[in-house]
Assembly symmetry: C2
Homo-oligomer: 336 residues x 2
C-alpha cells in the first residue's frame, strides 16, 4: 500500500509499505479523504520536528471505510463509513479534572502517532464516528474541523438572537461563524485577506476588513450599540487580541480559539470593568463530533464551497506549497 | 456639622458646613464609621483628580443611622441602622446587558458624587441595606468590601471542597479567602509582605511568599497534584498575572479582581490548552450585600481582627499617611 511520509525540511515522500498489524481494539480503515489542517502545515514548516518522529505519516481530518476489525472490536462492521476523532487519552492526571479530551497525557493521533495520509490506517475503534448515508466521504473529511467549531460555539454558550463576532476568517473562523449562525446568532466576521472576505461575503456574512474600517465602530453599528455577546479570537495575532476586549458588552464572552505561542499584551482592565469572560476552548468532545456530523448531513452548511481543491496523495507536497503561496485558500483535501 | 474635604495634593481639611437639603427619595444618615478603601488612597494620591470635584467629601465604606426621611421614602424609619451600597445607576445603555451595577452611566457614590466622611450624609433610599441588631456599626463599615468579596466568590462559582488560590493578601484578597473558606473551599494565599503573611497565617490560612518559594510547586503540593479549581488575581502586578495562568487545572477559573491600569503580558496559550476561564468581577449586586451582612452577622469571620486602627475624622490626613507608610496594615476606619 502507499503511504505519505513527512521527511522533514518541507518534504514528503510516497512509499510503498506493508499494512501494519491490526492490534486489539483497533479497526483498519480504507482511507477516502484527508484534509490538510493548519497543524499539518506547521509540521510541514518543520515547527513541530521535536514532536514528530521523522519519517512519519501525518493527517487527522479524515474519512474512510471500515476494512477489517481487530480483536475485541464491537459495534462496527466491515463497510461502515466513518470519520475519526483523533484523540487517544492517556493515563488520567488529577490536573485533567475528568476532561479526557485535553488530559495531560493525551496523544493526538496523526501528530503524536501515525496519521491518515495513507491507503490503510489502523485506529482504536473508540475514535470512530459513523457517517450517515446522506453525507459524502468528501464532506466526511470536514467533520473534524467542523467539530472544533461546534466545541468553540458550545463553550461560548452562543444563543439564538445573540451578536457574535469572529476575529479571523480562515477555515476554523468561518466554520465557527457557520455553526453560530445555525444557532440563530447574528454573525460578523473580521478578516484582512480580500479574497477570503469576498468569499465570506458570498456566504451572506457581514464582513469587516479591520485594516480599512474601525472594527469597534462596525460592531457598534452591527449590534445597534449593544456590542457583542460573544467574540471568537481566531486570528492568533496581537492586533486581534488588542481589539477583542473592545468588542463585548457587559458580561460578554471571548472564546480563545487561536494558538498564541507567544504571550500577548492584554487589556485586563476591560475584563474587570465590563465583567467579561475569556473562555479557552481546545479540540472537541464526542458530542461535538455528533453535532458536526448532524450539521454536515443536514446540508445547511456550505461545506462543499469551502473546499478549495481536492488533490491526489501523490501531489501532497505540491498541495502544501500551494497552501503557503495562497493565503486566500480555505480547505485542501487529499483523495487517497 | 463637620465634613472632611479632599483638597487635592494629599491634603484633607475638616470644614464646618450646613446639612444639605434632603431630596426626594433620599434619606439623611447620621454617620457612624467610614472605612478607607484603596480607591480613597488613590484619590489621596491625586490619581483621580480628573474624576473628583475638588474640594470633595469622599468615602463609601460606611455605617450609619437613619436621621431623617425625604419625600416618597418608604420602607425605612428613623433610627434604622444601615450600610450603603454606593451605586447610582444612570440611564441604561444597550451595552449594559441589563446589569445595572456596572452600567455605562453608573455613578459611584463617594467618588462621582459626595461621600460619607461627614457627620450627616444624604443618600438615595434604594442604596440602603439594614444592619441586624447583632452586627455592630463598626463592622457595618466592613460590609462594602465584604460584599466585593462575596461578588468575586459568587462569580468564581466557588464550591465546597474546591481548591482556591488568592494572589495578593491585602484586605480584599483576605476577605475573598474568608468568603471562599466559608463556602467550604480549601484556600491558599500568596502574599509578599511578611507582616501580612504572619497575620493571614494566624487566621489559619495556608500561605506562600512567592518571593521565597515556588508558588506553582506550592499549589501542586497543596492540591495533591490537582492544581487550583479557582484563582483570584488581586495583586494587580505583572508577577501575579504571569503566575495566575500556571495555577489552574483543566477548566479551572481565574477571577480578575485587581484593577490593571496598564496592559499586561498574558499567557493566552494556557487558556486554550487547559480550557481555563478568566472571569472579570467588579463591585457587587444587591444579593452580595445581603450575603455580606449575613456572613458578618454570623460572627464566623474574623472581621474585628482585620481592623488595624480606628481614628477620628479629624485625624484622617494622618491616617492616609499611615496607610502609605505601613503596607502591612489591613483595614483603617474613621469614627465620625
Amino acid at each position: 500500500m502507499n503511504a505519505l511520509y513527512y521527511e522533514g525540511q518541507r518534504s514528503f515522500q510516497i512509499k510503498e509499505t506493508e499494512k501494519s498489524a491490526l492490534g486489539k481494539g483497533e479497526v483498519r480503515l480504507k482511507m477516502a479523504y484527508v484534509g490538510v489542517c493548519g497543524t499539518d502545515v506547521h509540521i510541514y514548516h518543520g515547527n513541530m520536528d521535536t514532536r514528530i518522529k521523522i519519517p512519519q505519516v501525518i493527517g487527522h481530518e479524515v474519512s474512510g471505510v471500515v476494512e477489517e476489525l481487530g480483536e475485541d472490536v464491537t459495534g462496527w462492521k466491515i463497510g461502515d463509513r466513518v470519520t475519526v476523532r483523533p484523540l487517544y487519552p492517556g493515563v488520567e492526571s488529577p490536573i485533567d479534572n475528568g476532561f479526557k479530551h485535553i488530559g495531560q497525557n493525551l496523544k493526538f493521533i496523526g501528530i503524536d502517532t501515525p496519521g491518515g495520509m495513507q491507503e490503510y490506517w489502523n485506529v482504536p475503534s473508540f475514535t470512530l464516528h459513523h457517517l450517515p448515508d446522506n453525507l459524502s466521504l468528501k464532506l466526511g473529511a470536514m467533520i473534524e474541523p467542523l467539530a472544533v467549531a461546534c466545541h468553540d460555539v458550545r463553550l461560548g454558550e452562543v444563543k439564538s438572537g445573540e451578536y457574535a463576532v469572529v476575529i479571523g476568517g480562515g477555515p476554523i473562523g468561518l466554520l465557527i461563524a457557520l455553526v453560530a449562525r445555525q444557532k440563530g446568532a447574528n454573525v460578523l466576521i473580521s478578516e484582512v485577506n480580500k479574497s477570503r472576505l469576498a468569499f465570506i461575503k458570498s456566504l451572506g456574512f457581514e464582513c469587516v476588513n479591520p485594516i480599512e474600517a474601525d472594527l469597534v465602530k462596525s460592531v457598534a453599528d452591527f449590534t445597534k450599540g449593544a456590542m457583542a455577546d460573544v467574540v471568537f479570537e481566531v486570528s492568533g495575532v496581537q492586533a486581534g487580541v488588542s481589539v477583542m476586549t473592545d468588542l463585548p458588552r457587559v458580561r460578554g464572552r471571548i472564546v480563545m480559539v487561536a494558538i498564541h505561542a507567544e504571550q500577548k499584551s492584554v487589556d485586563l482592565f476591560r475584563f474587570f470593568w465590563r465583567e467579561i469572560k475569556l473562555i479557552g476552548a481546545r479540540v472537541y468532545e464526542p458530542e461535538d463530533f455528533e453535532e458536526a456530523i448532524e450539521l454536515a448531513a443536514s446540508g445547511n452548511l456550505p461545506l462543499e464551497e469551502m473546499i478549495t481543491q481536492v488533490s491526489l496523495l501523490a501531489d501532497a507536497e505540491e498541495v502544501f506549497k500551494t497552501i503557503d503561496s495562497n493565503p486566500a485558500g480555505m480547505k485542501y483535501l487529499l483523495e487517497i
